[in-house]
Every structure is written in C-alpha cells, then in structure tokens.
C-alpha cells in the first residue's frame, strides 16, 4: 500500500479511537467537566499530562530546532523538563490540597480579592489563546502535508474532532483521549528514532546512540563537530549564545512551564495530595522519553542531511530529498552553477536550506522505513497537536464559566454552569480555528509571551501564596502587575519595536538587551521583579486576614484533601 493510503488508515483509526473514548467518558456534571470528577489515577494523569504538555512544536519542531542550534538547543530540553521538578515540589501538592478547580480560583481565594482573580483570568485566557492558535495551525499543516488536503480543510477537520470531545467530554473526555494520544505520539516518535539509531550507530537506544560511533569508528558527536566546523558553522557541542542568556532562557522556560494553567489544572484531577506528587513524577517520565530521544533525533538528522546532500551532485540526490523539495521544506539553489550542493555557514555561498521540521517528518524516509511508519508519524503529530489544543480549550472554557460567570453569579445551577462551560468551549474552538486559518504573523513570537507571562505572573503569585503566610493582596497585585508590565513591555519593545514605534533595527539588536538577556529569557527577570515588589509592598501593608492565614496553614498539610470541593 502507498503512503497516502496508510496515512488515511492510521489517522482514521486514531480519530475513531478518540471519538469512541469521548462518547464513553462524556461529562455529566461541572465537576466532571472541570476536573474529571477528581478520580483519575496518578499514572493515567501522568500520561495525560505528557500529551497535554507535548504540543505539535515538541513533536515536530523541537528536534529540528536542536539540530540547527546544537548545544544552544539545550535550553529547550532542560527548560521544558526542569519545570516539572518545580511543579512537583512547589505547586502541585498544595494546589491539590487547596481543592478548587482553577488557578484563578486559587489566586482569588488566597488573595481575598476579585481584582486579583480577574487579572489571573486575563493571563490564563491570553496564554491559552496564544498557544491554541499554534496548535490548530499544526493540525492543518500535518493534514495538508500528509493527506494532501488544503491546510484550511485540515484546520476545520481538526476543529470538528476537538469540538466533539472537548465540548462533550470536558476534562473527563480530554483526560482519557489524552492517554490514548500519548500512546500514539510516543510510539510514532520512537519507532523511526530507534531505526535511525540502529542504522547509524548500531545501538537500539537513541539516547545511547547519540554517544555512539558511526561507520568509520569515530564518535558521532565528534564527527559532527568536525564536519560543521569545516563548513564554517559553530561546533555542534558548543554554543553561540552568551551564558547569561542561556541561563535566563532556561529559567524562564522552567518557571513558565510550572506556571502554565493547562498543566497545573491537570493536578486537580487526582484523588489525593500524594497522588499529585506521584503524578508529576509519572508525567516527567513520559515526557522524558521523548525529550531524551529528541536530541538524538536532532544529531542523527543533521548528520544524515549533511552526509547525503552536502557536496553531492544536484541531479543525483537521494529520493527523500526530492520528495521533500516538492513541499519546499528542502530548498536547493545551485548558485554557482557547478552542479554540486554547497552547504556552508556563509549565506551568500550556501545553496541548501533545510526546514527544521524535516528532522522528524522525513525521518522514516531517510531511514528507508516501510510506508506505514510515515502514516504513523502523521497520526503522532496530529495526536500531539489535538491533545494540547483540547487541554487549552478546557482552560479557556473553565475561565469563562467558572471564574467569570459563576463567580459573579453564584446562584446559577450546576446544569446551567455546565451549559455555559460547553458554550464557552465551543466558541473557543471556533476562535482557535479562525486563528488556525488566518494565523497572525506573530505566532512564533507570541510563544515567548506565553512563557514570559506565566513565569512573571502565575508562578511567583502561587509560590508566595503557599510559602509566605504574610503575603497579602496588595503585595500580590503589585507584584503581578510589575512582572506583567515589565515582561510584556520588554518583549513588545524588542520584538515589535520596528513595526510599532518605528525604531531602527539596529537599536533592537542584542547589544541593547538588558544584561544580554533575549526577550525569550526576560520572564526570569520579570519573575524576580515580581518577587521583590510583592515583598516590599506586603511589608508596608497590613497582614492578610486570619482566615486566609489559616487556609495557608491548611494547604500545607496533606491530610483531608478528599475530592476537590465546591464552594
């Protein structure tokens, strides 16, 4: 059977599976809709968190990003896994004990202030919409590349699927579909990686293959360093970014991960505090399987690409290169007309442009794997995008129905609240779909926003709410606003300075960055400012009421968590 048939079959089966699960696990109450009834096992929640967290970007783009960044790509690997240590140790168990349904719930109650709650809702909505637009686009791209349909048709099909199980099933439906999606995506990522590792290094474990030897007996990484330096690039195992920036980006990504509302909310779904701790551990195991394989896929990919294309005759390239040239993910332009592909660091002489997504997407073909593996990668990419989109849509609908409508109209019935939640989810799917079809030009930049915001607002405010009894609403609000305004201002200035304020590009270059920290890493400075301002303001204003201080004491003790409670 050809690739297209296999892709239709595998993607079709996976979609049928998701819909089946959604029907079986549809939500009947708000508690099921918001937190899956609070009875999810730590293992299942860990898997669901893995799928929730790993987006189309993790599945398709990250390996390629690392392939071209080499050592500098480590910021993503450490940043997007290290956050789980913070989550497990500093947030998840206490938020679980707190026992409400959302992050703004915690902020509003702990800081006895609806203003704080509304600021938290706005942050949650902004972060989630930013993210979900990218996911819908990811679904569309996978569709168009593998199923040969138009990107927009792909987005609409993706919308219908997510609509079905997010709106119908709420958190309960999402949780169990995410478990299935995790299995699909990890299988799809690992199979080609293992085969490529065996081909290149004779080692079935990509994690070890990365440190293995290639055909001629030299170590893969040493060889890669040598080849890249010869072509004028930086050696693979050493970076270009200054240490300060690496430090700041890694910290911002870690702290941002721990502060993302769709990740935090997953830990409300387990029965007990100790399950929340354990579940974070399982989640990181499932994430680490992909995150320790990705750097291997990256190194294998760039090695294979250089080995099979660089310095080769233009009209005698491997078949996979020609296939992917049609999608313009690989572009070859024989500038000097010598019939040979030159791949060098100098952009004037360089004749080969490789899109980063190729490292994962073309992997099965590079390794000459059977056609069904290609179909599997398509299903995997789709699973990664859909699972993340669903988790985000749930945060959006919960923020609207619970943190806004229910909070300001406490009298509404459970049934009505559920209806509002479903409507909000439906509207959010449509908005997300719209952004998928008409992507704002700044999708790539706004990811920096999402992490920067989460790092500079949610993370400090929750940490202080748990670890400082003295922290009051004045401190928290002042801190959140300082963190937000500073981080947003910095990112907007350096990312959009030319478009918005007509600043010359030269004024926005890295020479002008504060302490040499890029906009991607500035969230860590925003976080520090938030902490400092909060403490100073809190010391100058009255301590929080006794009831709030008691609540803080209570969330520190595991016993008595029960199932998450209604007000």
């Amino acid at each position: 059977m050809d690739i297209l048939t296999w892709t239709y079959i595998l993607v079709g089966i996976s979609f049928a599976l998701y819909i089946g699960i959604a029907i079986w696990s549809r939500a009947a109450s708000t508690k099921e809709f918001y937190i899956a009834g609070g009875g999810v096992s730590p293992l299942a929640n860990g898997m669901a968190t893995g799928a929730d967290w790993m987006s189309a970007a993790s599945f398709i783009s990250m390996a390629g990003l690392i392939a071209f960044a080499g050592y500098d790509g480590s910021v993503y690997l450490m940043g997007w896994t290290g956050g789980y240590v913070l989550l497990a140790l500093l947030l998840a168990p206490y938020l679980r004990k707190f026992g409400k349904f959302t992050v703004p719930d915690f902020v509003g109650d702990r800081y006895y202030s609806n203003k704080a709650r509304v600021v938290a809702v706005i942050c949650a909505l902004f972060i989630s919409f930013t993210y979900v637009a990218g996911q819908m686009r990811g679904v569309g791209i996978v569709f168009s590349r593998y199923l040969e349909v138009d990107i927009n048709t792909g987005v609409i099909i993706g919308m219908c699927i997510v609509f079905f199980y997010a709106v119908l099933g709420g958190m309960k439906g999402i949780t169990y579909t995410q478990v299935a999606q995790y299995c699909v995506l990890i299988f799809a990522f690992m199979v080609p990686a293992i085969f490529v590792s065996m081909q290149l290094t004779d080692n079935p474990f990509p994690q070890l293959g990365l440190g293995g030897t290639v055909e001629d007996g030299t170590y893969l990484l040493d060889k890669l360093d040598g080849v890249l330096t010869e072509l004028g690039f930086t050696a693979y195992t050493s970076g270009q970014k200054p240490m300060m920036d690496l430090f700041a980006i890694t910290l911002a990504l870690m702290v941002g991960t721990a502060g993302l509302p769709h990740v935090i909310v997953r830990f409300f779904t387990v029965p007990r505090v100790k399950d929340a701790r354990l579940s974070a551990g399982y989640a990181l195991v499932f994430i680490a399987i992909l995150y320790t394989t990705a750097p291997a896929v990256a190194a294998f990919g760039i090695y294979n690409a250089i080995d099979s294309v660089a310095e080769k005759p233009v009209n005698n390239l491997p078949e996979w290169v020609e296939n992917w040239q049609q999608t313009s993910l690989i572009q070859i332009d024989d500038k000097n007309q010598d019939g040979i592909v030159q791949y060098v660091a100098d952009p004037v002489v360089n004749e080969l442009t490789i899109d980063k997504d190729i490292m994962v997407l073309a992997n099965p073909e590079i390794a000459e794997l059977p056609n069904w593996v290609v179909g599997l990668v398509a299903a995997g990419g789709m699973a990664a995008a859909l699972s993340t989109a669903a988790g985000l849509l749930l945060v959006i609908s919960t923020s609207v129905s619970r943190d806004l409508v229910k909070n300001f109209n406490p009298g509404i019935s459970d049934k009505k609240e559920l209806l509002i939640a479903r409507t909000a989810a439906a509207v959010a799917v449509i908005i997300a779909g719209y952004f998928g079809v008409h992507p704002p030009g700044f999708v790539a930049q706004v990811v920096a926003f999402a992490f920067g915001l989460a790092a500079a607002s949610f993370f400090p405010v929750i940490i202080m709410g748990i670890f400082s009894k003295r922290m009051n609403k004045e401190g928290a609000i002042a801190g959140m606003l300082t963190g937000l305004v500073f981080t947003l201002g910095y990112i907007i200035y350096f990312k959009f300075g030319t478009d918005l304020f007509g600043l010359p590009a030269e004024a926005l270059s890295s020479d002008h960055w504060l302490f040499g920290i890029s906009p991607e890493g500035i969230g860590s400075v925003g976080m520090l400012m938030n902490f400092i301002v909060s403490f100073v303001v809190a010391m100058a204003t009255p301590a929080p009421p006794a009831a709030v201080q008691e609540m803080v004491e209570d969330i520190r003790i595991p016993r008595g968590a029960g199932v998450a409670q209604e007000h």
């Binding site: 690997l77 994690q207 440190g211 240490m243 701790r277 520190r556």
Partner: protein
C-alpha cells in the same frame, strides 16, 4: 508537642527536603549544563563530552529521579507526623 508545634516542625522538615532537592536540581542543570559546561566538556565519557551530556541528557534523568525521591521522602515524612491521607 502541641498540634501547632508539630505542624510547624513538619513544615520545617518539608522545607529542608525541598531546599536540598532544589539544590541538586540547580546543580545539574544550571551548574553542570550551563555554568561549568566548558570545564566539564574537557572530560569525555564514551562519545559524550560531559558538559554537553548533562545539558541534553543527564539533567533530565536527574530531574526524574528527584521527583521520585521527593515522593518517597514526603510519604515517609507524612506518616511520621501522622498527616498522611
């Protein structure tokens, strides 16, 4: 020991565990993976330069271990102070 004192002692122990685990978290990622990377890269183990290995592999393995150690220590602490569920 009164109940309140007991809870204070529990919290102090908890903070101590957190701080020691976070010290390891910081050391493997920011320490070995970023600050000391050039020095550690002088050491080669198999095909890996050690600093590079910490940045792209080692720190992630340590993160996983850290969370499970935390779960184990805290479950023990909860039982000892009789606050387990």
């Amino acid at each position: 020991m009164s109940h309140q004192e007991k809870m204070k002692a529990y919290w102090r122990k908890n903070i101590k565990i957190l701080l020691s685990l976070l010290a390891v978290w910081f050391t493997v990622s920011f320490g070995c993976g970023i600050i000391l990377v050039d020095q550690l890269n002088q050491i080669q183990i198999g095909g890996f330069k050690l600093g590079f290995w910490f940045a792209q592999q080692g720190s992630i393995y340590v993160f996983v271990i850290l969370i499970f150690v935390y779960v184990w220590l805290l479950n023990k602490l909860d039982k000892k102070f009789d606050v387990h569920e």
